[in-house]
Symmetry: C2
Subunit: 327 residues, 2 copies
């Protein structure tokens, strides 16, 4: 970590929002030197409650996040928001349209909103999200809401960061079987039937309640709530459930064992990502040893597996590459 | 690669379906020694046409895949199918229910169907899918259909493997804006409005056609087709489009440059994954050098970033760990 990175962390911890935003950009870009920055941030983390909000596109997650944020602010709680968007030059506009609704909170110093573009992240989205959450945690936010747009494997992985997962559904999203197909029911701590004034809400609620009976118990009873995010109906009950869930998580006897396992897994994650980044820089720089090999792979003379195995069978060369790629 | 792995590859290339299935299991489990197996398979690949089929849960993708398979078989083409499922002990049954419809093809030696569980793959799903596709390609399949259940970042990454991406939508999945939100429109080479007898099909088709006008041109005109997978209506037109697309891809002047970049990216992918796997085995085995460090991380005495940086700053130790984790 350079002088500059160290100063950024100091300023962020002192409450500087510009420094926070710059650190978030470094995390989003998986910048060189990031592990050293996160090492400096880490001791200040672990206090915030992390709430994941997921569900099919069009379920009204952004509006609900907006309402929940307002309710938490009314309780004096500071709120960080990370919106995980599969944004793109083409569809970016539509996604940003949603974010505009959140701008009522932009002038509130107790709220910090950040979109994380998933474009080109190649499996790095859960790690980038984790770092953004850590930064908001260290910044002093009480609640951190992580909202995903899609419903797929990456989004399920992102939700594993959360203490509490809220799955938002709407009647017209189809029957509850589709929810099971997407693997959403299994990760939910709270189920929300949004747009509850629409036809089919009662049926969806009943189906969900029935499916929950099949679920293995874990000490926490998963409630099914009805909301209308646009009018705010049902939001107070949801915020009450979030408070109950915080109390449950704080008292959960299984938490220490889980955290031990998570810390060990994270060591491997950090190592794996950093090694890959250093190798990527070394291959791109193309020093003496690897230039010919990389060109052979590009041209198809050597296949990628053969080339990788040749490097892996030469630990000294590998160490040189990894060392040379460090900053 | 052990004697056994080498023999498996030989048997698979000779047409042994049991050997193919065993190799697929090794790929799904990211088994040690996999890169050496894939190195042996690689020279026999590159002939198949890879078609991705994605869209929201409930759009009827499995039924459509089934119908397209039957139509391709009627043309004498051999078909491999990879179904990427976020399966789980809890929801697995529902997903498998879909697969049962495909069993009409199970006795056909010209078809091979494989589900890939995404559970616990942590960013490894696109790589595992790529390996399954390669195995089917080497086995001699003419067309390989890759179907995803979810719509999220991982699913978008999986679709990057395909020469042709078919996005399947249904009228009730909501308006076309939701499709854009999930990043689907941008990756589509063919748009299918399935369940086209339902209300709203014409409106969805019109919205999609309009949005396509905004898309940057790439030499290929994206058609919007209507199907009813359950009756088979529109499937013949879809299969014709797939043939046109194969001809387009074969003649595409940008293909060599793209393949150069893909091969280079894959070198880094293979290296990164294998290094991580070897490190994981070394940390789990916990030899002299790392046992104390890993325990410090588990207990929280040392944070994961500090521990990772300590190992990264010692290339000799790192080389020892990576070498020791090899098989």
């Amino acid at each position: 970590m350079g002088e500059e990175g160290s100063a950024l962390v100091e300023r962020m911890l002192a409450g500087d929002r510009v420094a926070l935003a710059r650190l978030m950009t470094l995390a989003e870009n998986r910048a060189p030197g990031l592990p050293a920055l996160m090492r400096a941030v880490y001791p200040r983390t672990g206090r915030a409650s992390v709430v994941g909000i997921t569900g099919p596109p069009g379920a009204g997650k952004s509006t609900l996040t907006d309402r929940v944020t307002a309710a938490l602010r009314a309780q004096g709680r500071r709120v960080g928001i990370v919106a995980v968007d599969p944004s793109s030059p083409f569809s970016g506009g539509a996604v940003l349209g949603d974010r505009i609704r959140m701008q009522g909170h932009f002038l509130d110093p107790g709220v910090f909103i950040r979109s994380l573009s998933t474009r080109g992240a190649h499996g790095g989205v859960p790690r980038a999200t984790r770092d953004l959450v850590r930064l908001l945690d260290a910044f002093g936010m009480d609640d951190i809401l992580v909202e995903t747009v899609g419903v797929g494997q990456t989004e399920l992985d992102v939700m594993r960061l959360a203490h509490t997962v809220v799955v938002v559904l709407v009647p017209e999203a189809g029957d509850a079987v589709q929810v099971m197909k997407a693997g959403l029911l299994e990760i939910a701590h709270v189920l929300v039937v949004n747009k509850a004034d629409r036809e089919g809400a009662a049926r969806l609620e009943a189906e969900l309640a029935q499916m929950l009976h099949l679920r293995p118990a874990g000490g926490w009873t998963v409630p099914v709530l009805r909301t209308q995010a646009t009018s705010g109906a049902g939001v107070a009950a949801l915020v009450d459930v979030l408070a109950a869930r915080r109390a449950f998580v704080a008292a959960d006897a299984e938490r220490p064992a889980r955290e031990r396992a998570e810390r060990e897994a994270e060591l491997l994650d950090v190592l794996g990502e950093e090694l890959r980044a250093r190798l990527g820089r070394a291959l791109a720089a193309g020093g003496d040893g690897v230039r010919a090999l990389v060109e052979d792979v590009r041209s198809g003379t050597t296949d990628p597996y053969s080339a990788a195995l040749r490097l892996l069978d030469d630990p000294a060369e590998l160490a040189r590459l990894v060392g040379g790629g460090a900053r």
